[in-house]
Structures are given as C-alpha cells and as structure tokens.
Amino acid sequence: MGKIIEVEHLVKKFGDLVAVDDVSFEVEEGEIFGFLGPNGAGKTTTINILCTLMKPTSGRATLNGFNVVRQQNQIRHSIGVVFQDPSLDIVLTGVQNLYIHAYAYGVPASVRKQRIEEVLRLVGLWDVRNKTVRDYSGGMRRRLEIARGFLHFPKVLFLDEPSLGLDPQTRYAIWDYLLNVRKREGITLFLTTHYMDEATVAHRIAIIDYGKIVALDTPEALKRMVGGDIITLKTGNIDVAIAEIHDRFGIDAQWDREGVFFEVPNGEEFMPLLVSNFKTEVHSISLRRPTLDDVFLKLTGHEIRDEAGGDTAMRRQWAMRTARSRGGGMSH
C-alpha cells in the first residue's frame, strides 16, 4: 500500500522558537500512526501544518498526494480533524453540528441523514442528538467531535490528544469506535498523545521531543531498544535458584528485596521453558516488560509526564483491548 503522508525536513519556527525542528516521516495508508511526546514537543504544530492551518517555515509535506501548502482544498477534503481544544458550536444541537459539517464537506444529500444517524449511534449520542451541545458533558462533546471527524469519510483522521480529560471507561469506548471505524472504512489514523498506554494502540510511534523525532518504530521494537523483559521469581532459596538458572540457561540472575530477577529478550516465550522442570521451589513468577516510559527516558534523558497513572490492572485491560481490536485489517 502507498504512503498517505510524506513529510520531509519540516521546520516551523515561531520567532526564535523552533517548534518543529527538521522532522521527516512517512505514514502508510491504513496505518495507525502515533506522535508521542511531552507538552510543547511540537505535536499540535505538526498537525496544524498537515491540516493546512499553518504554513511551514521550510520543508515539504504531502497528504494523499497533495501538497499541504499549494493544494489546501484537496487536503481539506481528504482529512478529518479532532482538535486538541474544543471546536463545537455549543449553541447548536449535536445533530445540527453534524448536519453543518456533512453539508460543508459535500456528503451527498441521499446519504447525509443516514450517515449522521450511523455515526451518532456509533458514539452513543443518538438519544441526546437534539440536546444543545452546551448541555453535553465533556465526554459527550469529545465523542461528538470524533463522530464529526469521520462523518465525511476522510482518508486520514487526525486525533490530537483524543482522550484528553476523559475517564478510562470513555477512553476505552472511544477507542472501540475508532478502531471499529478504521477497520470498516480503511481510515488512516494519525494520533498524538502523551498517554503511554494510548500510544501503544498505534502500529508505529514517533517519539518527539523539543520538535525533533528521536525514534520512530513499532511499539514492540521501541521497547526492545531499552532491553529485554525482566522476569522476577519469588523463592525461599535464592542461591539455589540463581545456580539453577545459570546451569540451565547460562543466565546470571541477580536478586533484591523483590526476589531473583534476570533479563531475557522475550519473556513470554521464556516463561514456559523456565517453569517446566524448574527444581527449586518458587512462590511466584512475574514478568515486567519495558514500557514506553522506559523508552522515552532512555532516549531523552527525562521522563514524559504520564497522566495515565500506574494502575497495572487498568493497563493490562487496556493492552488486551487494544491488542484485540488492532489486529487485522492492516497489511503493509
């Protein structure tokens, strides 16, 4: 499949500030592409340039084959945008907001009504469609913006921090809709976030810091950059366990308060090998995979603010969901 977005040496300066600093990347058609970076990294600025809202200082960018500076109208037809900040007409009702959008984007009259109903049902706002948006909750507004973003069958949907300020339930729900829509309509998703767990939804992630892309790869590959998975054994007999691990796998394990631990490239495959036939008595085994936090820290030397919190149960649920719904529909 072709490249839907191509960006070469993109630079955007605001006075002395270089908000986007020589950025180059490509996005495949149908891909979920993520921009991960802290506040002020230049994520929104890059999106603004790709959406024709700002002109780059230098560099070149094309989307769906169109130049973002010279072919603005064609670009605008090809994209949907969910802005970081609110962008609804709160005086109008939900359905009126969508009607105006559908009309402006030339969704044919024959399918307009049906399409509006479809997206409203998809994001669960059909029952409140005739309420004024002013009376919507934050989550309802965000869902309406997302519905509006893909209402007109765009080729690329930009999602600038789509789940900002939403509770976990709503975030999961929103991603359910989005992954669903992507699968059915083949939309390319371009997302920015500083939630680590949200970034793992992407097929590929560009880590961006101070306007520069410091790494670009699949989440798995990025995590491998920081090293392997860490397996921790709780055992009453530390010395024996360390010796047995050394004898059977040639790995020098270490130990601390948590137990005996060691690093392997692929923890999930290693665990069955380990537990079959392990002589020393073991109380528990745990596997910790490197997170994107670790990646970010290693690449930039500082931590990204992660508002997602450290609730591991929630993360696991999140990972399961995204892994499940992400599979399929993607062919490179």
């Binding site: 809202l53 700002m54 109208n73 037809h77 945008v81 900040d85 962008s87 005086v91 009309y103 402006a104």
Partner: protein, 266 residues
C-alpha cells in the same frame, strides 16, 4: 459549486444560531421601545415646536426610520462578535479546515449577519401602529434592499475588525467606540441642523447618514419648506438612489477589506 455550498452553509449556520437564541431576538426590541417611549412622548412635542414648520413636522415620524436604521446598524456590527466568539470557543478552527476558501467564509458570514440584521429591522415594523404613520406594502418592499445593503456594509465592517482582534473585551470596546459616533453623528435621531456645525463634515463622511437618509426618504415625505430634513452633498439634495449608491460603495470597500483580512489570519 463547492464554494456555493460553503456560502450557503455558513449563512445557514448564522441563521440557525439566531433562531435558537430567543434572547437576542427579544433584546432587539428593548432599545427601540425605550427610544419610542422616552423620545416619542417627551421630546416629540418640543421637537415639533422647535422645528417650526407650522405643525407639519412630526418628530416621531422623523425618528422612526432612524430607529430602524439604528437597530440594523447595531445588529450588523454585533455579528462581528460571533467571529470573536467562534475563535474563543474554537469553532473557527472547524471552519478553517473545512473545504472552502477563506473568501467564501468571510462572504458567507457577511451575508448571514446582514440577513439577521435585516430581519431585526423588519421586526421593527411592528411598531408602525404606535407611531401613527402609514406605510404601504410598496414602501416595505423598498426598504428591504435598503436595509440589506446597509446591513451588509456594516456586518463586513464588524467582521473586518473581528478578524484582527483576539479578545472579546477589546472587540466590545472598539464596537462601542464606533457605534455611538456612527449613530449620533448622523441624522438618525435629530435633523442634522441641530448638531454643531463643526460636525457637519463628520456627518457627511459617515456612511450611516446616507443609509438612514435613504430609509427616511422611503418611509416618509418631508414636510414642504423644511431644510435639513434630508441629506445633501455639495449642496445637492440626495435621492434614494444616490444615498444607496454611496452605501453600496462603502459595502464594497468593507467586504473587500474583510475578505482580505480574514484570509490573512493564521
């Protein structure tokens, strides 16, 4: 075709917002009502006396077209507010990424604001029975385009200013600074000969003067032998057509500037 669609939907949205906002609709009645009650009863008799004219001069009749003009003026200029509002509430971004040119957006909004202002002007006609003037259907049909051209010019002016201004407060201040001179340095409320003579030049360069003069000529007949009742330029008394030609020229300049300014913002 695409641009026409854009023009329509931008215009449509403005009207939709207007109909949903009954407060705005009702508040447009308050100011003219106050003027009619206060000026109408109190000042009318003394004004009528002041003007001489042997009782031919009816101040309320004189003032009524001025009030219509004032309502249109305020409504038109205030549509600039909605641009500032859209910026503050973020909807402007949605408009800016929509597949239509900036020119279409600016003209669509000008048409929308002008339509709303004209509607508000038309609503003032409900006061006709109270001011005891007779207005024919033909006269009503005549003032429709006059009001619309006036409204179009002033909405464009409001949008021009709004496109350069980022905060609501600044916009309100500038509007107040413009609104009152435009109303009171014009023949809206009083015949201009009641104004100090040094303001005469200002009256003549104020386009609102001609807009109001055209409305007045369309709705009322000046009493015979009453100088200063209507506008004149270089000693030449203005006809409706000449009045509105000046307003239309002003409209053209304003909308060009508004389009230019709106297209330049990032």
């Amino acid at each position: 075709m695409r641009e026409l669609r854009g023009l329509y939907i931008i215009w449509y949205r403005d009207l939709l917002r207007f109909w949903r906002n009954t407060g705005r609709l009702l508040s447009s009645f308050i100011m003219p009502l106050l003027f009619l009650v206060i000026f109408g009863s109190g000042i009318a008799s003394s004004m009528t006396g002041l003007m001489g004219g042997g009782g031919n001069f009816n101040y309320i009749e004189f003032m009524f077209p001025g009030i219509i003009g004032m309502v249109v003026l305020m409504a038109a200029i205030m549509s600039g507010v909605s641009i500032v509002w859209d910026r503050e509430f973020g909807f402007l971004k949605e408009v800016m990424v929509a597949p239509m040119s900036r020119t279409t957006v600016a003209i669509g909004r000008t048409l929308g604001g002008a339509t709303i202002a004209t509607i508000q002007g038309v609503l003032m006609l409900v006061f006709i029975p109270f001011v005891h003037i007779s207005v024919s259907i033909g006269q009503v049909l005549l003032i429709l385009p006059l009001m619309f051209i006036m409204a179009f010019a002033l909405t464009a002016m409001g949008i021009l200013i709004a496109s350069r201004i980022k905060s609501m407060e600044t916009f309100q201040v500038i509007m107040q600074l413009l609104l009152f001179p435009m109303i009171f340095i014009s023949p809206a409320m009083f015949p201009t000969e009641f104004l100090p003579s040094w303001l005469n030049g200002a009256v003549k360069i104020n386009p609102v003067s001609y807009a109001i003069d055209s409305l007045r000529q369309a709705l009322t007949t000046p009493p015979p032998g009453m100088p200063g009742f209507g506008m004149s330029l270089f000693g030449h008394p203005m006809s409706i057509a000449e009045d509105i030609a000046i307003v239309a020229l002003f409209a053209l300049i304003m909308v060009s500037l508004a389009v230019w300014s709106f297209g330049r913002q990032e």
